[in-house]
Symmetry: C2
Subunit: 309 residues, 2 copies
C-alpha cells in the first residue's frame, strides 16, 4: 500500500480515530500522524500505545502542515474545533469528519474552512459499544460503509483521494447528499439506539421490583439492547440534538406501528401479529445477503460456543 497523505491530524482520539490510526499504520497510508485530545490522559495514552507520532494540547498545533485533518469529536463539538483550526489549516489540505450526522456538521464547520482547503464530510458506519483511545482496532472499517457527503464545489480530485484513503482502511465508500444521509441513518441507527436506550431504562427502573433478575436472566432481546445502550452518551446526545427532525419523524412512525401491534395483542389478533413478524423476518435475509452481517447464530452464543472450541 502506498502513502496517501503525508501528515494526518486526528482531532479527537476515541474509538474511530484510534481505529483509523491502527488501520493507517497497518496499511501504511500515512507517513506521519499527529493528534489532539482535550484530555491530557488521552494524549498520553495515544503516545504510549503509538496511535500518534506526536500529540498537541491544542487542535491548532496538531493541524499545522497536515494534508488531511480528521475531525473525530462529538458532533456538538465540531463547530468550535473548526473555528479554532480554520486559520491554521495548510493550503490544499483536506478536512473531513466522522460524525454520525452530516447536515449539522456542514452547517457548523463549512463557514470556518478557508479558501483553498477542501472540506469533504464523511461518516464511517462502523463502531462498537466501547469508546476511548484504547478501544480502537485496525479492522473496525473492514467491509463497512464509509459515506462521503461532498458539499457543492468540493474538489473531485480531493474527494477521489479521500475515497482511496477510506478504501485503504478496508471500507466500502459511497457518496450521497447530507439530508438524505441523515434520513437513512435516522432509520438504521439513530432511532434504534433511542429505542434501545429507552427499553434498558425501563428495565433499570424495574430492577427495583425484580431485583437483579432482569440482569441475571437477561435474554437475547434485552442483552442485545444493552449492548446498543452502552454506547457513548455524549456522542449520542449530540446525534439526537443535531438530527432532530429526521429522528422525530421516524419515532412518530415507530409509535404508530407499535400502537397497532399493542392493539393486536390486546384484542388477541394473532393473524395480524404473525403476518407482521413474518414480514420482518425477510428484511433480515436482505441484510445477510448485503454482507452486513453473518447468518451465524448469535444472541451471545459466540462467547459460549468459542469456549467449547
Amino acid at each position: 500500500m502506498t502513502v496517501i497523505y503525508k501528515k494526518v491530524a486526528l482531532i479527537g482520539l476515541g474509538l474511530i480515530a484510534s481505529s483509523m490510526a491502527h488501520a493507517m499504520r497497518t496499511k501504511g497510508l500515512a507517513a506521519e500522524i499527529t493528534g489532539h485530545a482535550k484530555s491530557a490522559e488521552t494524549r498520553a495514552t495515544a503516545l504510549d500505545i503509538g496511535l500518534c507520532d506526536s500529540v498537541f494540547a491544542t487542535a491548532a498545533e496538531a493541524v499545522a502542515g497536515a494534508d488531511l485533518v480528521v475531525l473525530a469529536v462529538p458532533v456538538g463539538a465540531m463547530g468550535a474545533i473548526a473555528a479554532e483550526i480554520g486559520p491554521h489549516l495548510a493550503p490544499g489540505a483536506t478536512v473531513t469528519d466522522v460524525g454520525s450526522v452530516k447536515q449539522a456538521v456542514i452547517d457548523a464547520v463549512a463557514p470556518h474552512v478557508p479558501e483553498g482547503v477542501h472540506f469533504i464530510p464523511g461518516h464511517p458506519i462502523a463502531g462498537t459499544e466501547h469508546s476511548g483511545p484504547r478501544s480502537g482496532f485496525a479492522t473496525l472499517f473492514v467491509n463497512r460503509w464509509w459515506l462521503l457527503t461532498p458539499v457543492p464545489g468540493s474538489d473531485p480530485e480531493a474527494t477521489r483521494r479521500l475515497r482511496l484513503f477510506c478504501e485503504g482502511m478496508g471500507a466500502k465508500v459511497d457518496e450521497m447528499d447530507a439530508p438524505h444521509h441523515d434520513l437513512v441513518l435516522a432509520v438504521t441507527s439513530h432511532t434504534p439506539h433511542l429505542i434501545a436506550y429507552t427499553m434498558v431504562g425501563v428495565a433499570d427502573d424495574l430492577r427495583r421490583v425484580t431485583d437483579s433478575e432482569v440482569i441475571q436472566y437477561s435474554a437475547a432481546g434485552f442483552r442485545d439492547f444493552t449492548r446498543i445502550a452502552a454506547s457513548d452518551p455524549t456522542m449520542w446526545r449530540d446525534v439526537f440534538l443535531t438530527n432532530k427532525e429526521a429522528t422525530l419523524d421516524i419515532l412518530g412512525r415507530f409509535t404508530e406501528e407499535l400502537f397497532a401491534l399493542q392493539r393486536a395483542i390486546r384484542l388477541g389478533d394473532g393473524d395480524h401479529l404473525h403476518a407482521y413478524f413474518t414480514r420482518t423476518r425477510a428484511i433480515r435475509r436482505g441484510i445477510i445477503e448485503a454482507g452486513q452481517d453473518t447468518a451465524a447464530p448469535d444472541f451471545g452464543r459466540v462467547a459460549a460456543s468459542s469456549g467449547d472450541k
Copy 2:
C-alpha cells in the same frame, strides 16, 4: 456423565428440541430419544441427522414408555398436545415444556396430566434467530439459565432429577413461580422482541422511500434489531397472546419513557438525554459481570475480524 432418563420423548423438533437432542447425545444423558413433529419432512430430517432413535406421526406414540416427555411446541399448541398424550403417559414419568411463557402453559397442560405423572414446567433462556430441526447445536444451553416453575404438589425428587438433566446439558438452573417468571421475561425478552419487530417493520415501509439503502447501510443498532426480528413468527405470536398482561404493562412503561425522551429531543434538552444514556450504560456492565455476555466488541464485528485471523 451418567444416563438420567432411559427414554426421552421430544414433542416438537425445532431449535430447542434439536439442541437438547445434540446435548443429550454429547453428554450421554438419555439412553433412547424418540420424537414427534407435525411435519413428515421434519420427522425424516430428525432421523437423517440422528436427532432421534425413532420418530412417530403422533405424539401419543412418541411418549409411550418415556420417563421424560419434553413439550417443545409453540405455547399455543401445548394444550392440544397435552390432551392427546395425557392417556398415554407412563406412570412416574416427568412431563416438562420449554415454553417462553409459563402460567398459560400450566393452565393449558396441567388439567391433562394424570395422577402419578410429574408435571414440571420449564424455560431454557437460550435461543438463536434460526428455527427448525437443523438449527440445533449441543452448546446452546451452556452457561444459560434454565428456569423451572414447579406447580404446587410437584414431587421434589422429580424436580431434582430434571434439574440434574438440565445441568447436564450445561445450563444453570433456578426455580421461581410462574407469574413472576412471566413478568421478568416480559421485561428481558418479550417486550424487547416486540419493539425490534416494530422498528424493522418501520424500516421495511421506508425501504420504498430509501430503496435498499436501509439494508445496505444497516448500522449496528438496526442490524441487531433485524437479528431479533428474524425469530420464529409462530412462537412469538403465541408469546404475546399468552403473556398479554405483563407485556402490555411493560409496553405502557416503555412508551411513557420514550415520550419523555422524544420530548427532550424536541426541546433540545441535552442534559436529560446525557443523564439517561449514562444510566443505561451501567446496566450493560451488570450483564457482563453476571456472565450473560462478553465485553468483546460486537456489533457485527465478529465476522469481519475473524476474517483477518
